[in-house]
């Protein structure tokens, strides 16, 4: 759907059709279609939209209830295909479970063994490289339990990068990172998106602005697929400011720092329209009240 503008499209091909998942009797994914190859795709949606369930399904850790999923033509429902898909996959779950007393290097080496990445020397070089990329090269000997939340998140990112996988699935990778760490994350993802298919979830529109494709997911269904610019354009002519709180029905309204009240929805006659932002487009795409 969206590769990079120049050069051949590389990275795993992800084709999902009619994904449907129910957990504990609740429908979490309700017929999701997705077609991605190369570039950075951001799954954007409110909390509870089904983002993690979608990424867990694409990451093959949650079995498919209904629908079909092919990654590079392989079907994860079959054991041999699933193992082959996992060889091409780097996965960072939302709750990475990276704790315990083991050292950063030992944990990464254990995961490198699980990923079947070669002999001790090869693994050591890969780990050194991954830790360098996330800025933790000098922390290899530290206990994981002693790291800050942001550092643990970076260890999680480092393990996903091991072996330079063609498919990188990162569930809320920016959660708990400070601005410097976020800039570094963006750097790492930008470097990878030219060589791999990168799928990232977030509930922050600011994180989605840098992606090639935005997928808005709400209540388990895809509400929008396109570039960030197209999502912004969805709010063309539907964002305006006024001096008082709106009286009629609007999609959302909030007071800006400059004192004006920003409104989204169908503008009243004579409203002073303003250029929309990505957030405006997003809010108008998810059709339920969202806290802003």
């Amino acid at each position: 759907m969206s590769g990079l503008a120049n050069g051949p499209v590389t990275g795993a091909e992800v084709l999902a059709f009619g994904l449907r998942t129910a957990l504990g009797g609740r429908v979490v994914l309700d017929g999701v279609d997705l077609s991605v190859r190369g570039g950075l795709t951001t799954i954007l949606g409110p909390n509870g939209a089904g983002k993690s369930t979608l990424l867990r399904t694409l990451g093959t850790v949650l079995p498919l209830d209904e629908g079909s999923l092919l990654i590079d033509g392989l079907d994860p429902r079959h054991e041999t295909d699933r193992i082959e898909v996992r060889r091409r996959l780097g996965y960072l779950p939302q709750d990475s479970g990276l704790d315990g007393g083991s050292r950063v290097f030992d944990l990464l080496d254990y995961l490198a063994v699980c990923k079947d990445l070669g002999d001790a020397r090869t693994r050591r070089h890969m780990i050194g490289d991954a830790l360098h990329r996330v800025g933790l090269a000098d922390r290899a000997g530290d206990a994981v339990a002693d790291l800050s939340g942001g550092m643990k998140r970076r260890v999680g990112l480092a393990q996903a990068l091991l072996g330079a996988p063609g498919l990188l699935i990162l569930d809320e990778p920016a959660a708990g990172l400070d601005p410097d760490e976020r800039a570094r994350l963006r750097d790492v993802v930008t470097e990878r998106r030219g060589r791999a298919t990168v799928i990232v979830s977030t509930h922050l529109t600011s994180e989605a602005a840098h992606s090639d494709t935005v997928v808005v997911l709400d209540r388990g269904a895809v509400r929008f697929v396109g570039t960030p610019a197209r999502l912004t354009a969805a709010a063309d002519g539907r964002a305006w400011v006024q001096s008082t709180a709106p009286v009629g029905p609007v999609r959302a309204s909030w007071q800006q720092a400059d004192g004006w009240v920003r409104c989204l929805g169908d503008p009243p006659p004579g409203a002073s329209l303003v250029p929309p932002t990505l957030e405006d487009g997003y809010l108008l795409t998810v059709d339920r009240p969202v806290a802003v």
Binding site: L23, S96, D106, Y110, K115, I127, D129
Partner: protein
Amino acid sequence: MTAPTPPFAAGPPVDPARIDANWRAITFDLDAPRPSWTERLLRRVGVPSAAARLVVATPGLRRSWFAALVAVVVLGLGAADPERPTESMFTLLVLAPLLPVLGVVLAYGDAEPAHEIVLATPRRGLHTILLRTATVLAIAAPVVGLAALASPAPAWLAVAWLLPGLTCTLAALSLATAVGPRRATAATAIGWLAAAAGMAGAVDGVGRLAVFSPASQLAWLAAAAVFGGIVVARRDAFDHLSPASGTVR
């Protein structure tokens, strides 16, 4: 007049990024922490580095598990009675089969570090579990066995708990695929203790060890084969998050 080209610049151009990467690899070779002594020991006796890493990373081998191992030995030997050497081994033998269950099944799933990350790797969950079972038994068997041999009881009792232990572990693993590791561990422990106590309560003397008798061992072997079959048939469950284990919200 221009400066002569220095001779060291005459060679083919070298990619600075490659030099940088090589330098990082060399310095990281020096910086990477030394493996723990257990891992070095395993490698010295010929275990390949990948397998040694997996064994050392067995999540069940926590301080609490070693405490349980010590508790079983202390309680077991505390109950030993030279007047009744065989039947007084009951406590040790009845508690020991729960050690692999605690070390393997209870430490599986969301109790395991980086569980969801490991699931997404090509390593088969069942292989990991079998390796862990072997690891835990390799530690528990000599400790419990030596404790039994140190008592006045007949020597065969030192290994009498191994088959029930394997059966309990496979039973708990089969159950875990349906109800999650915690409930499976609890149900297996209750079931095993009830069976052992039930068979012991009916008789007196050496008959208290009926649950470990040769006839019972055959039954445990048959049960191990059945539960082993279930575990293999349901091995996909160890490659996925399980809604039953509480890891899927």
